[in-house]
């Protein structure tokens, strides 16, 4: 009887201002997938992205369950996937990082292979190209990704993320070209200090540091050209009482951190975007303390949160 594997991976907001390709925060917004091996690949996709992602073997979940395993273990025939996705696709919320982590985790579980979170990160890296979202997806919390080495800090519990997520799609690869290849030395120095401030702010729960810690001169000035509403939304969030705000990942979402006045911050961000004729939605999210790596240690292959994932027939469920 075919094995069923399940995984639950958090969204993440990378960069957080100055930490380009290095910092990321895991968010309490998840991609949930159940999988079993089957002769043909089929994907039932529920939630965000149903119209945007290919539901074939080219799907990032399927590719990630196959490609990293090529050459050292057996290929899976095909995959039957049940997906429930809450992460907006292509909005700078780590949807691809989450999909890659989910695919590799499922690929390992379906083959009966036990690999560490660190190893998943190493296998995932070539598919994603940068480690920030992968780290947060795997470990949860506030992550510092030094290529494939991850350092994780607990996120202050009272700090929430307020996000403005635009309706229009922004493919990451296009926004990446807007980042200068050779930053000026003064800009590099500007960012170095602020990344250090982020680490202090997070580890010492120092709310007064966040505004400065989220400032950036490396990638946001270039990307602001693609997102003309960016500066206005950041300013509106901070004026409404947010501790700080920045572009989320490669955009076009904007993330603000607030420990109070969440509603006021959300409304101000939405209003600033609308003043620029940008439609979107606002979300208030806690950080996700646990990443997908947490489910690696569970022996059972059924859904990590009982009853929350879309069900494959339970009677055929088998744990290893």
């Amino acid at each position: 009887m075919p094995k069923i594997a399940a995984v639950r991976v958090p969204a993440s907001s990378a960069n957080l201002g100055p930490g380009f390709d290095v910092l990321a925060l895991a968010l309490d917004l998840h991609l949930e997938v159940e999988a079993r091996e089957s002769p043909k690949t089929s994907i039932a996709w529920d939630g965000e992205g149903a119209a945007e992602v290919p539901l074939t073997r080219k799907n990032l979940l399927v590719r990630s369950a196959q490609e990293p395993f090529t050459g050292w273990t057996r290929p899976l025939d095909g995959l039957e996937l049940r997906v429930r996705n809450h992460i907006p696709i292509g909005r700078g919320l780590g949807s691809s990082g989450a999909a890659i982590v989910a695919g590799i985790t499922l690929g390992a579980k379906l083959r009966g292979l036990r690999i560490s979170a660190q190893r998943i990160l190493e296998l995932a890296f070539p598919l994603e190209g940068h480690g920030d979202n992968l780290a947060a997806a795997l470990y949860g919390g506030f992550c510092i990704a030094v290529t494939e080495n991850v350092h994780r800090l607990d996120w202050p519990r009272r700090w929430r993320a307020v996000l403005f997520v635009p309706d229009d799609l922004s493919p990451t690869h296009e926004a990446r070209r807007l980042v200068p290849r050779r930053p000026a030395r003064s800009d590099a120095v500007f960012n170095l200090g602020r990344v250090a401030e982020w680490v202090l702010a997070c580890s010492q729960h120092d709310r007064a540091l966040v505004a400065s810690a989220m400032d950036d001169r490396l990638h946001q000035p270039g990307r602001a050209r693609a997102y003309p509403y960016l500066d206005d939304v950041i300013a509106a969030a901070e004026q409404a009482g947010a501790l700080g705000a920045a572009l989320s990942g490669a955009g076009g979402s904007v993330i603000a951190i607030a420990d109070r006045n969440h509603d006021r911050v959300a409304k101000a961000m939405d209003k600033a975007a609308r003043a620029r004729s940008i439609e979107g939605k606002v979300m208030r999210l806690a950080a996700a303390a646990a990443g997908a790596g947490a489910s690696l240690n569970q022996r059972g292959l059924s859904s990590p949160r009982r009853g929350s994932a879309p069900g494959l027939p339970r009677d055929s469920a088998q744990t290893r």
Binding site: W72, T73, R74, G112, L113, Q118
Partner: protein, 122 residues
């Protein structure tokens, strides 16, 4: 041989090619015999002027065995690739015509066996 006299069985014995008059010799013993073996070897090392004796605990042995290994290229490569894919470091390797043995960290032995079963379609 002093180890044999102490009733310590050595396994997976590997000697490297000499380089500038120095040769490494490695072998495994059961963990229960580890301390005693180290003591014996330390005294022999002094006698023969060996540079050093290194001992490592917490290792395990995983082997692929079969007469099909003879004359079939790629079995060892497959085994090494699988262990590397799992993120398992190989501490020592020894082979015969019908057997490939790898010494790895003991805490990964179950993962290695499951992975090799999968890789060789067993």
């Amino acid at each position: 041989m002093p180890l044999a006299e102490a009733d310590i069985a050595a396994d997976v014995i590997v000697q490297t090619a000499s380089h500038e008059g120095v040769t490494d010799m490695s072998f495994t013993v059961s963990s229960a015999d580890g301390r005693q073996a180290k003591r014996i070897l330390d005294s022999i090392a002094k006698e023969i002027g060996a540079r050093t004796v290194l001992a490592q605990d917490g290792l395990a042995k995983v082997s692929v065995i079969g007469s099909g290994i003879r004359g079939q290229p790629g079995v060892a490569a497959n085994m090494f690739k699988t262990l590397s894919g799992l993120g398992i470091n190989i501490e020592m390797i020894s082979t015969s015509e019908v057997r490939i043995t790898c010494i790895i960290q003991a805490d990964r032995i179950k993962d290695a066996v499951a992975g090799l079963h999968e890789a060789f379609n067993l």
